[in-house]
């Protein structure tokens, strides 16, 4: 075959030929390939922390760089991206990341949970039910569930390998014996598939109790610690708890002053309780008011 114009060997070279000098969706192809491989491995071993090549992102470490890299590795032109920060689309960091994703990937962005195909969230699980075709990406500060009881990473790895979580059970037992319940508020460790301990990111206990057998995958990216964990669809996820003292969700002081719901996770705002998940609250409000 006659050697035509130099055939581009990489996607980046192909993109460059078509007037897109910088990489698609901000990340270079090698990083995206590494992240995708890590995602596949994490899905294959639910709950296991898979190291991945965490690049320096235009978002500070500890501000969601892990979640951002996962989203950018999966987003496509016809995706609809929603980025929320503790249930709120309008936090400055969430806005910054959503802009970065939509501009660099050329995809649509939204604040509606149902309209989104990829939802990147920090410390909250959207309260509207998600469909199987949607993808939830969580930002994670501390991927290691044993970090307080087994400070040394190497020792913690041994515990994971041997599935020996006695230190975690001991910490839970000590809290139960001395103060009647777990010390952990947010980021209560969960047992995936009944065997592997995982940190679900600092989501409140209300959300930890909603992690079990969800129809969509959940990907947890920790950029600072460069670890990636995943929960494939319909996997058993149970909070670390004794048989006779199940984990109880948080109780808010009053119904939400906007939508009046008593079932959602609510936070205090100027002495009034309001829903933490803004979008779910809006949907409920529109449903109730004619």
């Amino acid at each position: 075959m006659t050697p035509g114009p130099q055939r581009p060997s990489t996607v980046a070279a192909l993109a460059a030929q078509h007037g897109r000098p910088e990489a698609y969706a901000y990340l270079d192809e090698d990083t995206k390939r590494n992240v995708r491989r890590a995602i596949l491995k994490a899905l294959a071993i639910p709950g296991w922390q898979v190291p991945f090549a965490s690049r320096e992102m235009p978002v500070a470490r500890g501000w969601g760089s892990g979640g951002l890299q996962v989203t950018l590795s999966l987003v496509g032109p016809n995706d609809v991206v929603k980025v929320i920060d503790q249930g709120d689309d309008h936090s400055s960091n969430a806005v910054g990341m959503r802009k970065l994703i939509s501009e660099s990937a050329g995809c649509a962005e939204t604040t509606s949970t149902t309209a989104a195909t990829i939802i990147q969230s920090r410390h909250r699980i959207p309260e509207l039910d998600l469909r199987a075709d949607q993808l939830l990406v969580l930002q994670v500060p501390h991927p290691e569930p044993l970090r307080r009881v087994v400070p040394a990473d190497v020792a913690a790895l041994v515990h994971h390998a041997e599935r020996d979580y006695t230190p975690a059970w001991l910490d839970l037992y000590d809290a139960e014996a001395r103060i009647g319940g777990p010390r952990t508020a947010a980021d209560h460790p969960v047992l995936v598939d009944g065997a592997r301990l995982m940190s679900p990111s600092p989501i409140p206990r209300y959300d930890v109790l909603r992690l079990n057998r969800r129809p969509h995958p959940i990907l947890l990216g920790a950029g600072r610690r460069a670890r990636l964990t995943a929960l494939p669809p319909y996997i058993d996820v149970a909070p670390l708890a004794f048989e006779d003292s199940p984990l109880d969700p948080e109780h808010a002081g009053a119904p939400c002053w906007r939508c009046g719901s008593t079932q959602t996770y609510r936070v205090l705002a100027e002495r009034r309780w309001c829903c933490s998940d803004i979008d779910a609250c809006r949907v409920r409000l529109e449903a109730t008011t004619p």
Binding site: L170, A177, E243, D244
Partner: protein, 280 residues
């Protein structure tokens, strides 16, 4: 005595002791590089266990003994005689250079051995956690997942060893030496190990606490039925706890006998020195 006690007694206990639980054969361990001019490991006790050429210390040399169930073996000797090295080999903290340790026929493994350390904090216990939690840890390690059951089992063991219920949830570091030893013993009682090691259990405790502890330890060693080793330089304590005594001197077993014989009629000059230096 209504029944003919002596007659029906006869068929109970056989005349010779049962198979040993722990058998240690020709245990030897050297700290340091060692060299050809090292103390001839097969030679007679040369009065020291430090090799003049390479300075390596033969901590334990050619130690062999057996311990049966329900038996307590006392190991005495001054510090530096190899007592602790021997114990660390039994507790798998140290792999000996040569010799073998077998428990119940197979090689020794971690789950069959429990050690009560001289001070609880060195024993890998958790000073910040409650005494009850330290006991519960072995239940949790065994797979117990029901809080109520673990709690009652741990409380029962701690009560049995003399800790008042209201102190069960205090942090271990706030307990006295004697009380911390009782927590360690309670941990041993959680699931009886095949081998129980007591490392200087009464050292550093004041006499009244020692007395209570000896009583508790006697009850525990009998209740557990495991092969026990008590290492101490406190001959009186060893006398109470152990039925047999092994005397270590410069890493060698210089005398072995029943506790009364070793302390009342010592044969080896070193044992005679050790026994005669007791404060009576």
């Amino acid at each position: 005595m209504t029944t003919n006690a002596v007659a029906d007694y006869n068929d109970r206990a056989p005349l010779v002791p049962p198979e040993p639980v722990v058998s240690v054969r020709r245990l030897a361990h050297r700290f340091g590089s060692g060299c050809d001019r090292c103390i001839d490991l097969t030679g007679e006790a040369a009065g020291t266990n430090r090799c003049c050429a390479c300075g390596s210390v033969v901590a334990v040399y050619d130690a062999s003994f057996d311990i049966g169930p329900h038996e307590v073996l006392g190991v005495v000797g001054e510090s530096g005689s190899g007592k602790t090295t021997l114990l660390r080999c039994l507790h798998l903290d140290l792999t000996p250079d040569s010799g073998s340790i077998s428990v119940g026929g197979q090689a020794i493994n971690r789950s069959t051995v429990v050690m009560v350390h001289q001070n609880a904090l060195a024993a890998g216990l958790y000073p910040r956690l409650a005494a009850e939690s330290n006991v519960a840890e072995r239940l949790l390690g065994g797979g117990a997942r029901h809080f109520g059951e673990i709690h009652s089992r741990a409380a029962e063991l701690l009560n049995e060893l003399g800790l008042q219920p209201e102190r069960h949830t205090d942090a271990l570091m706030t307990f006295s030496g004697g009380m911390q030893q009782r927590v360690q013993l309670a941990r041993a009682l959680v699931d009886p190990p095949q081998v129980l090691l007591l490392d200087e259990p009464t050292t550093g405790l004041d006499p009244s606490v020692q007395a209570d502890l000896l009583d508790v330890m006697q009850r525990v060693t009998e209740a557990l039925g495991s092969a026990s080793v008590v290492v101490s330089h406190d001959l009186a304590a060893v006398r109470v706890l152990a039925s047999r005594i092994v005397v270590l001197h410069h890493g060698r077993i210089v005398e072995e006998g029943i506790a009364e014989q070793v302390l009342e009629d010592p044969q080896h000059p070193y044992t005679q020195l050790l026994v005669s230096s007791r404060l009576t």
